[in-house]
Amino acid sequence: MYLYNLTLKPSTAISFAISGNFINTNTEQILLANNKLLQLIQLDDTANGSKFQTLISVDVFGTIRSLSKLSLHGNDKDYIVLSSDSGCISVLEYDSKKNVFHVLFNETFGKSGCRRMIPGQFLAVDPKGRAVMIGACEKQKFVYVFDRRNGKELKINSPLEAHKSHTFVYDIKGVDVGWENPIFAAIELDYSEADVGNGAQKFLTFYELDLSLNHVSRKWSEPIDNGTNMLVTVPGGVDGPGGVLVCAENYVIFKNTGHLDIRAVIPRRSDLPAEHGVLIVSATTYRKKYFLLFLLQSEYGDLFMCTLVYGKENVTELKIKYFDTLPVTSAMCILKANFLFAASEFGNHGLYEIRAIGYAADVESSSATLIEMEEGFQPVFFQPRRLQNLARIDQVESLMPVMDMKVANLFKEETPQIFVLCGRGPRSSLRILRPGLAVSERAVSQLPGIPSGVWTLKKNRKDKFDAYIVVSFANATLLLSIGETVEEISDSGFLDTVPSLCVSLLGEDSLAQIHPNGIRHIREDRRINEWNSKRTIEKVASNGYQVVIALAGGELVYFEMDMTGLLIEVERHGMLGNVACLDIAPVPEGRQRSCFLAVGSHDNTIRIFSLDPDDCMKILSVQSVSSPPESLLLLDVHASVGGEDGVYLPAGVFLNVGLQSGVLYRTVVDMVTGQLSDTRSRLLGLRAPKLFCALVRGRRALLCLSSKPWLGYIHGGNFLLTPLSYETLEFAASFSSGQCAEGVVAVTGDALRIFTIEQLGETFNETMIPLRYTPRKLVHHPNGKQLIVIESEQGAFSAEERKAARKDCLKAVGMEVNGNHNAQKVENSNDDEEICGSLSDEQYGYPKAESQNWVSCIRVIEPRTETTTCLLELQDNEAAFSVCTVNFNNKEYGMLLAVGTVKGLKFWPKRSHAAGFIHIYRFIDDGKGLQLLHKTQVEGTPLALCQFQGHLLAGIGPVLRLYDLGKRKLLRKCENKLFPHTIVSVHTCRDRIYVGDIQESFHFCKYRRDENQIYNFADDSLPRWLTASYRIDFDTMAGADKFGNIYFTRIPQHISDRIEEDPTGGKIKWEEGKLNGAPNKVEEIVQFHVGDTITCLEKTSLILGGHDCIVYGTVMGCIGALQALTFREDIEFFSRLEMNMRQEHPPLCGRDHLAYRSAYFPVKNVIDGDLCEQFSTLSPVVQKKIADVLDRRTPQEILKKLEDVRNKII
């Protein structure tokens, strides 16, 4: 089996974010990194406010461990310094012309991987950009010095060592010392003395790089709090006092050489239990001419404004003031235009406008008022309040983390929907992903009848916007003018009592209306020329300069505009039968006419005619298709290099054919000879696609109206054909006006709709249903209407407790907790709701409870109406972890729901719990509600439940047990206690049971009904920490482990046969098992490192009439798929392409691609489609080179292959 891995929806999670001037000093960009993607985004001002635009997004095929920018003095743009698991330090530059990241250096310093001794975990840059320190978690540190040759070209010197053995490092930052020797500050811990228990002490150490001696020395070291986790550079030189802010648990301390410690406590939320400390998790510096402040965010999401009072010599005071509360971020950056970009750890990221900088009175702690008590310093308390200094203006969607996923067609659409559980705590949600682009509807208006066509017209070809919309009915034509409002015009010169076949701009500024009886040519000065036909005109094609009509009976008449702007008949051509459809290619730039006319006939052929005056109406080529053509569109692609997509595109003309069978054909037309080649086909839907032209990013794109509308456009160098999430449309035209630059006007039924297409390049569009707690598992009711979600959350209060606490809090607010501000607010709004609403849990998080407190709920959702029909909150510290629907042999209650719960679960110091339960619920109201039947206590945590032969199989710790339904309890029927650790998944097929262990991969078991015994006949030889599993077929299981690998295991055929044939089912052999193992071992047939922990797997097909593929979702919110390649030829082709791509286009940060995909186990039988798809971003020379190696193919053929395989998946 060979698989092709393709990321369908790249992760939008962010682990690092840095703002900087990566293009030039005038513009500001944000550089984002998540695990393996490096992205550059820019804030653009659009009509609807500021929106993010992605400039470039590159998969680096490695783990990005740390990211920083290098701003050199006098340089107009910043460089990127990046450390990854490649064992190299990478310095990159963004090339805005070609839109690529350009590698300046990949300096190797050690082994690859994220190991404890390999530098890369920390990256500290000297604020003046003279040197970089790169450090490991333990011992090793290197300093790279940069200098510039001739003041221009950046040069990197060999590294200087600053190792110190027996030392852990917690953070490293550059210290701002102006132009003196660069200094790096590190939090270190020497464990040589303290290996056995206590006595360890963290130190803040300053390393000085002596530029003249080219040597690094430990300059200064002083003990600091053992709770220290982070450093923040304080601007120095002329901008501030220099030194560092040391963030420790509960404290922020200012430190510098030869300076007293200035310490302040971090204010605590008043409802925070005493066992929790407050840790700063992200920080950013806000520096303007007249002030300097730091925004620090605690692990609970509260932002604090930290300011320093300093004179010439010393810092005298450190103040920490409550600022606002945002969801916990992994990184924050402040943009010059007073925006704060907050990259959330989990869930959507936010863009906030900074409205104020904390001038209002609020809770503040200061070093001056620090009170030392017996057990430490006196804490300062505050109460979170609604946003005062920030206002959210935009958000970026992120699926992180995907907890579970089901693919099902619950909406009875053509393609299935993906139901994804994502998020955590109060920000968790169920998202419904549909393949396709999101559409935003701008206007809908009713028309007097059912229209048969719609067109848009400009007044002059040079105009930017359209002036008219023309709608044709069965016996009338309506002209609407576009302005502030859309109004009907009657004196247009159009014949309004006949239907129109085509309306178009002719020449520069005259109009043509083609109706069944003739052509009406309206000149700019309202002179009208008429051409009448004796026979009915059936089909028309026009490109604005040339018009071709097809008369009944099959005659083509060709008109052309002459110099004086008159439409002149040039040629007639008889066809054998009626013409089904025709189209003229657009006039190429700088030419007088287009040379190609495409005609589709009912005899399943498409012909290309020449329109060249020398051989007019000569057939250039013929293509036969599988069913009668319905619609034709010749689409030209302009050549481009770089630009918005950043890729090289050769010019070309494509012939698109919509067939009556619902298939779309796409063929390349040779621009000189008109020969057709390189055909691609795709089934779009059940209706014959009608093809129209739309504008996408200034380019002509293909709009196909089948049972669903589809958009074909070029994105990132690849042609993408994506469905639009919109209803069935009959007729469409591109639309452009002041309010909506690139829209589409379309008709369905008797409605005229104007819409725009958003977020190009996305594969899915999503709808969101909020949930209450961290979702764990998802099952769907077999009636296809409801979904059942279990949610559980550690360390939170139950809904009633929260309600009570909120009431108390409201009372307290009246008593001025946060200064006098809130008192006013209460006066203004006595309405409880408003204050409750303002403190939404989504923004502030749930109040923290003791960590052994659990809350949980079981929810039934109707996704169609997006409503929760039943919500059962579990009582008494119980948390649900597994769920399944089950049909017992006893049919009394029909389908039942089994939920596995555990009471009082604790992880530290050892995993323990009070009790486990299996709840059995029956469905009421056609599946909308749940009613508890009974609850059975079990000895462990039931982490896996599955229906099996009219019984319930439960994995409870290391025990697999079979239960039957009793009146008041579940009844034990059979069990096997011999599983190694904890059972996390159970799948069944016939009499086989596939058990997944938390550490030990899969165990293949058999249930013998006659002996009532479950025994294990095969297991895996590798330890695998399972996080997701799926049964592929009778002998094969797919699994994923927490290190980011996906793998398939299969029982060898002969063993499988023997087990099935053996009357004892291999049992005798099992009884003599050795070393606690099963007698047979499974084989690993597929192995691939995705680089991201996979949490859910499913085998399914995402498209109409497609083959099954394995779809997976990951913790970082990425959705990908593995598709089986069936032909040997394809396998060979893609393996060779992959091999060549590795050579010609090695990953950006220097990681060896093959080594990355084999990070834990050698990659086996999987081709990395993500790497192959980067082919389109290569320069034409390299493309040609690779194509030549691959059996002398052309780059176009390779692109076609890539497109084909993608189309098979999505």
Partner: protein, 86 residues
């Protein structure tokens, strides 16, 4: 010390053990071995962001807190005492 001693197997091993922390030797006891494994593992968890996120989800802590906890572990508190392993 003679010049040839520098190249014998023992001194080479010692050199390697000093250079590559965590390399085992014949007299390694259970505690030292376990501590090394633990330090390797936690360094790997801290280095791989998805894994850090995975643990943060399981323990319902922020990723920043989880990173801090993991870096605190290797020097002591949450570890059984030495007698347990000897």
């Amino acid at each position: 010390m003679q010049a040839s001693d520098r190249f014998n197997i023992n001194s080479q091993l010692e050199h390697l053990q000093a250079k590559y922390v965590g390399t085992g030797h014949a007299d390694l006891n259970r505690f030292e071995w376990a501590v090394n494994i633990q330090r390797d593992s936690y360094a790997s968890y801290v280095g791989h962001y998805p894994m850090l996120a995975f643990f943060a989800l399981a323990e319902n802590e922020s990723i920043g807190r989880e990173r801090y906890n993991f870096m605190q572990v290797p020097f002591g508190t949450a570890f059984p005492n030495e007698e347990f392993f000897v």
